[in-house]
Amino acid sequence: MKVHEYQAKEIFKKYGIPTPKEKMCQNIDEVIIAAAKEIGIPCVIKAQVMVGGRGKAGGIKVAKNENELKDYAEKILGMEIKGIPVKKVLVSEAVSIASEAYLGIINDRTTKKTVMMACKEGGVEIEEIAKQRPEAIYKVYADPLVGLMSHKAREIGLFLYKEPKRAFECASITEKLYKLFIELDSSLAEINPLVVDTSGKLIALDAKLNFDDNGLYRHPDVESMRDRESEDENELLAREQDLSYVKLSGNIGCVVNGAGLAMATMDLVKHFGGEPANFLDIGGSSSPEKVKNALEILLKDKNVKVIFFNIFGGITRCDDVANGILQAKKDLNIKQPIIARLTGTNEDKAMEILKEAGLIFTQTMDQGAKKAIELLK
């Protein structure tokens, strides 16, 4: 789960990480009042959307006077960035920057440890740097059972800054960021850029926090920060019903049990020349109800012209899936043709249940995908 910059900075403040003077605003009047009473002019107006490249898209502007403030606030609050409408902005104190750096934390899949990463360049795309100039990134690992030792945090500080005072200030920020990362089950904690202002103070100018979905159950306060409007409605709905759905742009709707097979099914549709409309994993022990819910979500996408069920029964019982299809056909008035490849546990029962249902059955997933494409011609 992702949160907005302003939310990440609220969390930073709780952990004592220095941030600029800021206020989140949802309309132009709020922006004007915030600038006049709390932040001052000049100030920075930053679009709050959870996609990269806000600056390039014109979503971050420095307002030097009241006219600019109004003008930029109006423009940014009305704009879309990568298709996402901007509904909130952060009005932030204009910091005069002396230097910029990068500081981030993730759980590294390869070493299976929590790693702090520092880079002397700020505002960078760390994955790009990692690919092109890995030597520019300094890494320090936390001991999984002891935590981040103070001397390791100082290593980061001393890598980024020559002056001891600044280095140790940075070490303290690193320790706070690590504490936050561990305590809140974060999956990415980034200060990018971490700046030194002209008075010599360290400030987290931008903040990015992602959270491990598997850890959210123990952090209701983090879960409550979820911005439902910025997420795809159907993906949210799917998650609430214990389904996993991602919309794509094609017209062949895919319903599959298991994430790997669901990806392989989309790939197969594409391989034979079709376009998959979605990723949809109905999970392990699927009840008929869940299958019906899955179809309901799938059919909200008006591009779907044909539906392809690819089920390899293990824990999932084919007869449960069959009953779900039958129920959905009755309740949802499905007009699109349904191709069903149902194999494994109770496949015979499934065939019996569906023999009058007007489905097209195939033996293999190859045949199913080809049939779906053929029907669209």
Binding site: N107, R109, T110, K112, K113, T114, E125, E127, E128, A130, K131, D143, P144, L145, I182, D185, S187, D212, D213, N214, G215, Y217, R218, S244, V246, L248, V256, N257, G258, A259, G260, L261, A262, M263, A264, M266, D267, L268, V269, K270, H271, P276, F279, D281, G284, S285, F312, G313, G314, I315, T316, T343, G344, T345, T364, M365, D366
Partner: protein
């Protein structure tokens, strides 16, 4: 022969009294697995499918000499069940449970260091050594004794590929579902090290997917050290970036971890890649049958 599990496996089922635990205990017994004990704290003294249930893993190991455990425990209790199994002296822990926070795996990995114990999973469908034993939820009937080792990050996609391998007339020595999470106990390379020494395994198929760089590291390893033929399949060629595709670990971050990148490295390192599951089996048939 086989790796990880065989006729001598004595299995402990953690969470045996739950719905999934009891159902799959029956399935594993039907396959011929020696399920010797179950654990559910507070339900010691019961029996499930004729298998005695104990209050603790330590008790179960003392009474039955169980050497392997499988977990059907809800995610929030799974890490403590893993620690319990490690402390009880279990040598191989297969975690079927899904949804463990990643940081738990960071800690478990550290706790396992220098201990004579291996974790497979979490979020694993389990392991099958054809004709010998089945630990987990993989459907037994699709397996056939044979010479192909299978290692996969997926569940049902593994069944699909195993089924194709069986249908082209080849069978499997051991099939391992290593799990779809970002941090897992046993990786592709750990399995390859064992398959290298297993005389009954003549070839290996690696079923990977988007996210991370385990497949790339594995391909480099294959090129340098692994002498048997290796085949591969990568799922997620049509997956969009920055979207989690079901598995917690199946996510392309920015431009890293794409299927195209993985297929490319596989091919460069001499792994024969099929575009579809059926094609993988066909490639194997052409070379091995």
């Amino acid at each position: 022969m086989s790796i990880f599990i065989n006729n001598n496996t004595k299995l402990l089922v953690q969470g045996i009294t739950g719905r999934d635990g009891s159902f799959h205990t029956r399935q594993m017994l039907n396959y011929g697995t020696k399920v010797v004990a179950g654990v559910t704290p507070g339900k010691g003294g019961m029996e499930v499918e004729g298998v005695p249930v104990f209050n603790s893993a330590a008790d179960a190991v003392k009474q039955t000499a169980a050497n392997t455990s499988v977990l059907f425990v809800p995610a929030r209790f799974a890490s403590s069940a893993i620690y319990e199994a490690i402390d009880a002296g279990i040598k191989l822990i297969v975690c079927i449970s899904e949804g463990l926070p990643t940081i738990e795996l960071v800690k478990i990995t550290a706790y396992l260091k220098n201990k004579d114990c291996r974790l497979v999973g979490p979020n694993s469908p389990g392991i099958v050594s054809s004709g010998e034993a089945k630990v987990g939820i993989l459907p037994g009937h699709i397996f056939k004794e044979g010479k192909v080792g299978v290692i996969s990050r997926s569940g049902t996609l593994t069944y699909e590929i195993v089924d194709h391998i069986t249908k082209v007339g080849l069978g499997q020595s051991t099939c391992i579902g290593i799990g779809g999470d970002p941090i897992i106990g046993t990786k592709f390379i750990d399995c390859l090290e064992l398959f290298a020494q297993d005389n009954d395994t003549e070839a290996v198929v690696i079923v990977g997917e988007i996210g991370g760089r385990d497949e790339q590291d594995t391909a480099e390893y294959v090129k340098k050290y692994f002498k048997k033929p290796v085949f591969g399949f990568i799922a997620g060629k049509t997956a969009p970036p920055d979207k989690r595709m079901g598995h917690a670990g199946a996510i392309i971050s920015g431009t890293s971890g794409t299927a195209a990148e993985k297929v490319k490295v596989f091919k460069e390192c001499g792994i024969k890649v099929g575009d579809t599951p059926a094609e993988v089996a066909q490639l194997m048939k052409n070379e091995l049958a």
